[in-house]
């Protein structure tokens, strides 16, 4: 057997002109229609009032921040952009002050989320079988047992932080198991997630240094799996082939980074937002504890109303689109949360209706980039809520002012003190 030399070379020395950087602009927003920023505290506290206002008066907002970008807030605009992979590229999917070079397409830095057709289809096909409903259901018993163990640890306490002490740990454990990473590395995962998604406005040197820490960690895991192959996604990716060849090292580590980052704070956010709602809505809480069979329907409503994920695209070429003049490489902040609260698409769009029968929400995206982990996320969210409601049927916010929310494209509670006694 020959040594796998894909992972033995030093990290590429990036040429000076790798990608383009824009000026970091922070500070209060004057007008959300012309100067929006998803990193200002007002957005973090409540993006929905901003989006509802924009939907009335300016359905596609603009900003000069992040080197220029657009924010559509109507369902129809968001869906049209998600479906149009010709005009809107996934070469970069985190709207910030850095754009990778054009020639990184169609693979991108974290395939397949960063990939465009036709490469996207083939890279995605490699991942789909592991994430079918049937395959993720095998993880349900261990997920349920883990949720119970977290609640066991609350013994004797009359208040807990449901985001910090419960929600975050569930997807961390599940994705660590799937990738075959040490479960005790959870605190590292949290840092990687925060650096990737919330460190957007940090100075470039600091950001690069932090992203290199993630790259080093992933290479360490690859080497561990090369030495000790096992039945998990890391070994699967190391051995996977595309077009008759094993994957490039960057593809392997890029996909590992995607699964780690996208698998964690998304589901953590969805669990936290659902518990936050139930802590403030005693009638919904009473109904769900009395009618556990309603939970899967309620879960879909929580996903609609508190969709954790906003994506981004880059405009491929200069064009006029639905009345606005877009330039090549302008960002699109693709807000599935805003689409999910469009009254033109949903009755009582701003209300939480836990028995909503018809719910074509876009929480997991639309079109070819539908979240590959959606079946896993649904299982984790349902099990996390089932176990919580079974064990802690009565709870409320301990201190509403102490609830904090993540900034940027993934939204969910990061501190959620609940009274459970």
């Amino acid at each position: 057997m020959t040594v796998d030399d894909r992972f033995t070379q030093d990290r590429d020395e990036r040429p000076e002109d790798f990608g383009t950087r824009s000026e970091i602009i922070t500070g209060p927003v004057a007008d959300w229609a012309t100067d929006f920023s998803h990193f200002e505290p007002e957005w973090t506290a409540d993006p929905y009032v901003i989006q509802d206002d924009l939907r009335q008066r300016c359905p596609i907002a603009h900003t000069e921040r992040f080197g220029g970008g657009w924010l559509p807030v109507r369902y129809d605009d968001v869906a049209s952009i998600a479906y149009d992979t010709e005009k809107f590229s996934s070469r970069a999917i985190i709207m910030g002050n850095f754009r990778p070079p054009v020639d990184i397409a169609p693979i991108g830095g974290s395939p397949p989320i960063s990939s465009d057709p036709p490469f996207h289809h083939d890279a995605r096909k490699l991942l789909l079988p592991a994430f079918t409903k049937k395959n993720v259901s095998r993880l349900e018993p261990s997920t349920r047992a883990f949720c119970h163990s977290l609640i066991d640890s609350f013994e004797g306490r009359d208040s807990v932080d449901a985001a910090h002490d419960y929600a975050q740990h569930i997807p961390m454990r599940v994705i660590a198991d799937m990738l075959g990473f040490p479960p005790e590395d959870g605190p590292k995962f949290r840092q990687f997630v925060e650096n990737t998604l919330e460190g957007i406005n940090l100075p470039p040197e600091e950001r690069i240094e932090r992203m290199e820490a993630l790259g080093d960690y992933l290479l360490e895991q690859v080497h561990d799996h090369l030495a000790n192959p096992r039945d998990d996604l890391t070994t699967y990716l190391i051995n996977a082939e595309l077009y008759g060849h094993k994957l490039q090292a960057e593809h392997v580590t890029g996909t590992m980074a995607l699964l780690l980052i996208a698998g964690i704070d998304t589901t953590w956010s969805a669990i936290g937002s659902s518990l936050w709602h139930l802590a403030r809505a005693p009638a919904d809480l009473a109904r769900l504890t009395a009618e556990p069979g309603l939970l899967p329907t309620a879960v879909e409503e929580f996903l609609r109303a508190f969709a954790p994920v906003t994506m981004a695209r880059l405009v491929r070429n200069d064009m006029t689109w639905r009345g606005v003049t877009m330039k090549a490489d302008d960002w699109i902040l693709l807000s599935f949360p805003a689409a999910n609260r469009d009254p033109a698409q949903f009755d009582r769009a701003g209300e939480i209706v836990i028995d909503r029968e018809e719910n074509r929400h876009a929480a997991f995206g639309l079109g070819i980039h539908r979240c590959v982990g959606s079946h896993l996320a649904r299982m984790e969210l349902r099990v996390a809520l089932e176990v919580w409601l079974e064990r802690i049927p009565r709870f409320s916010l301990a201190d509403p002012a102490a609830v904090t929310w993540s900034a940027g494209q993934i939204r969910g509670p990061r501190a959620l003190p609940l009274r459970i006694g």
Partner: protein, 66 residues
């Protein structure tokens, strides 16, 4: 009534086989499939309509049989 999934439009959200597992299944990649000949027995019509109404991609059709 007969069900049909447009496989070019289905993206594998799985709402159909979540909501109506007696009418829909999935393939090895998670894409939805109509089970059997797709003919909907009268007592399953509500489930069929619910699956149609919850497909985010509008990939499912419920056709009146002639």
């Amino acid at each position: 009534m007969k069900l049909h999934i447009d496989s070019k439009v289905c993206q594998g959200h799985g709402r159909c086989y979540d909501l109506a597992p007696e009418l829909f299944g999935d393939d090895d990649e998670g894409y939805g499939q109509v089970l059997g000949d797709g003919v909907v027995p009268p007592e399953k019509e509500h489930d069929a309509r619910r699956a149609v109404a919850n497909c985010p991609e509008h990939a499912i059709e419920l056709l009146e049989e002639s």
